[in-house]
Amino acid sequence: MGTETGNARKFFEELFQGRENLEKVLKLLRQLLKALRIALPVIGFPMLAFGGWLALAWVPAERDMGAPSRIMYAHVPAVWMMFLCCVLNFGASIWYLAGKPSLKVDAMAEAGAEVCLVFGVIGVLLGSIWARPTWGVYWNWDPRLTSVTVMLVTYAAMMAARRFEEDPDRRARVSAVLGILAAASAVLVWFSVKWFNSLHQVQSSPKTTYPELVVTLRWNSFAFLFIAAWFVWERYELALKARAGEVAPPEPPPAPAEGGVA
């Protein structure tokens, strides 16, 4: 591991023609990342507010579905963020089990799982409310709704299991296995509308909808994306700090005071 890092460092030193230039580039990259971490919520939240206005006032209602069609601009981005975070968690889980286990990878998996759960619950709640005026019921055990429930319950179980297991390596392995199971159910969620006879509509295409609807959906999706990326970033940093606290060496006992009782 150390040799690999050394080789990579040597390669980049040669690429940037000297250690000083490499240090400058690394410093610039760190500053850019710091700026990006601040920029994500600063851009994302105002975008979400403006996206709300677009969805509720600017965009025309869909012809047949009427006002409830406006729910799409919050429901669909929330579910897309759920899938993105699921992919992140799946990648980190595979990396932990098949690659080299590291605390950073486990922290990334944890961040992905939690943010996935947050957006998944929001997406399902919104979908359930949308179902009432369109399907006539809040809930139906159709393939998509059933598979997404299984997926979210798996993530909830993973987050609960992480709290009970004290050994960091065992905890990471258990949650990585659960992450892979959850990702398998995510595949079922995505394709369920095509594979089974589902009440839920199949994925739409921008080619068959009005440009105003596409613009509003894209705007809200980017707003959700910036916010979700910031959530994952912050949650990752929190998880890293928690790991550092777990593996930190115990503090030395205080030195006995002079003339005090030993």
Partner: protein, 63 residues
């Protein structure tokens, strides 16, 4: 029963059935829209607060 009467009865039944069929378009439903956006905004807001509180807690306990 005579044929014209049967026809008239069938037409009346058809008109009655058709009157029960809507235009296929949803009317109203703004209460569902507002409920959804409130849930989405409150959910995102609460998670933001949760992240900030945990971040502050970590800073407070950092050595």
């Amino acid at each position: 029963m005579s044929v014209p009467l049967l026809l008239a009865q069938a037409t009346a039944e058809h008109v009655q059935e058709m009157s029960q069929v809507g235009a296929g378009r949803i009317v109203g439903g703004w209460e569902y829209v507002w409920a959804c956006y409130l849930i989405a905004w409150i959910g995102i807001g609460l998670y933001t607060v949760s992240i900030l509180v945990r971040r502050r807690g970590r800073k407070g306990t950092a050595v």
